[in-house]
Point group: C2
Chain length 329, copies 2
């Protein structure tokens, strides 16, 4: 196989120095190099199929094209999975590589990984500790926290998006004429941070319609626990249940069927996430979710701006929300 093209080879072919090639390809001392030289260089690079050696770039600059991607040690659900793949492919399109790092039960040794990879940035689906933040800050590494990270610590639009999703759930139930709403909450401590935020936003939305506060039921994903929740909701006159996620909504649907309660005429149910399973149940589940492609586009835009030390853009929340009305409401 032919030797891989280097800057020097491009320089020779273009009849200029390696310095000039580097300047042109990196568009560096902007406006100082004439168009004619640029064309020459670019053609030579294209002819040779030149791609930079990232190791050499990293060694020279002290920064790699690696973006650390910190993932919680949870069962990866469809939504997180979608986010992971979307982040991976969008970073790839920008010439970055997403390096997966899973937080185990034990504390993650972030310092040594940061040392070993010299990442350009980090995306974390979990909260980082103050020390970890300090670690990144001291090396000038851009950080974005999202998903399972505490939403109150996040940038404005992440928070607004999650809030809008919760509001959308309630808005839909109110439009369908419900006045006493229930809320299905998990008990798993790993989910509770996000779940508490969602519940708070749901309460906020319900209050804005001047309705009574929701009847909250907490349960794990076991049939018997959902059965108890159903009983409690019925006893308190609840006609519609907004759920922390589709899994709790499905559990609620199952329990309703076991109790002989018709959905949606006696009890409406709405979830969050739009997982593929929404259609296996009868009736299929109404749900609200994030348009992950758009969401990640915004996230990556923020990250790239942060890497380049440019000001953050503003993002329109509305197109990031996907609402699908199905039979359960």
């Amino acid at each position: 196989m032919p030797k891989r093209a280097t800057l020097a080879m491009v320089a020779q072919r273009a009849g200029v120095s390696v310095a000039t090639v580097s300047y042109v390809l990196n568009d560096k001392p902007s406006g100082r190099i004439p168009e004619s030289t640029k064309t020459l260089v670019r053609r030579a690079a294209a002819d040779l199929g030149y791609t930079p050696n990232v190791a050499a770039q990293a060694l020279r600059t002290g920064k790699s094209r690696v973006v650390l991607f910190i993932i919680p040690h949870l069962p990866i659900n469809f939504t997180i999975g979608e986010m992971m793949t979307e982040i991976g492919s969008q970073l790839d399109a920008h010439g970055y590589v997403a390096a997966m790092l899973t937080t185990g039960e034990r504390k993650l040794d972030l310092a040594s990984t940061v040392h070993a990879t010299s990442p350009a940035a980090a995306i974390s689906l979990v909260d980082l500790t103050p020390e970890e933040h300090k670690l990144f800050a001291s090396r000038g590494i851009a950080v974005v926290e999202t998903a399972f990270a505490s939403l109150d610590k996040q940038g404005v639009w992440h928070r607004q998006l999650q809030r809008a999703i919760s509001h959308r759930q309630i808005e839909h139930l109110v439009e369908r004429g419900h006045t006493q709403i229930g809320w299905a909450q998990p008990v798993d401590p790993r989910l509770i941070g996000l779940a508490n935020m969602r519940m708070a936003w749901a309460k906020e939305a319900i209050k804005s319609y001047r309705l009574k506060p929701p009847v909250v039921q907490r349960f794990a994903l076991k049939g018997a626990e959902a059965d108890r929740a159903i009983k409690a909701w019925r006893a308190k006159g609840v006609t519609a249940v907004a759920c922390y996620s589709d899994l709790w909504a499905m559990s609620t649907l199952e329990a309703a069927r076991r109790a002989g309660i018709d959905v949606p005429s006696e009890l409406a149910v709405i979830g969050i996430d739009n997982i593929p399973l929404t259609e296996i149940v009868e009736p299929p589940l109404t749900s609200v979710s994030v348009n992950m492609k758009r969401n990640v586009e915004a996230l990556i835009a923020d990250l790239l701006a942060s890497i380049a030390d440019e000001p953050q853009l503003t993002h329109d929340i509305e197109p990031m929300i996907k609402f699908v009305k199905r039979g359960s409401t």
Copy 2:
């Protein structure tokens, strides 16, 4: 902050040359360096908290510590998600970094990514094309295909593991006294490769018990389609259904309930994967799955052996299988 330790700093502290430090730390010309020198060097490295600069290593050797991790553009289910995180954390433990690469609808430009990252190895959850294999082979990059890759192309133990799981499904149903078994098959073309293998193994197992061939029903994850499947199974005297995965099993359970068929007394159902949702249904779903930790340990062992050009180890399949009997059988 203090400057990061380099080989030169370690050498100075130990009172030896950088060459010696490199030899000791990489354990290279084995047995040529006296223990006393080694101890000296190792202590100096530890004192300084030395970690090698991977960019410099990569530049020098032409090989990075990156392992390309090629992921299908599918909704990531729990099993794939678990595999991804497990692979990520185990590679990390061995000093490698898992770089996610998602295959989009369009063809993946693997060549440029390989060029850009000079990976030490690649793990692919999908089949690679002959050209892609050639690309890796020409650069001496170790490759492991697994999960969604066609199992007949895989190494012996991957295949045996998947086969054993399918056999275990059938074995359990036979033990419970069933003689006419049904099989639930997906229609999604992205799943059909793996699904066909599983079905073939199930048929093989059924034949080994001298039972009639299974009644195969193909359906998407929609309630109405599963309803049709149930009807067909009942019409042919099926008393137990083995399913391609837990999702199809859950869909089957739902359809059985709608048809007023009792599970398991009138119809037993068994899945594959042991997803967290197995317990939200009544009765909870019996399932067989891979013990992902063990499975990935074997996979990584193969990969490391391949990178080091060492002979492959053999692996015991039995501990990689997890069978959980629940109420549905």
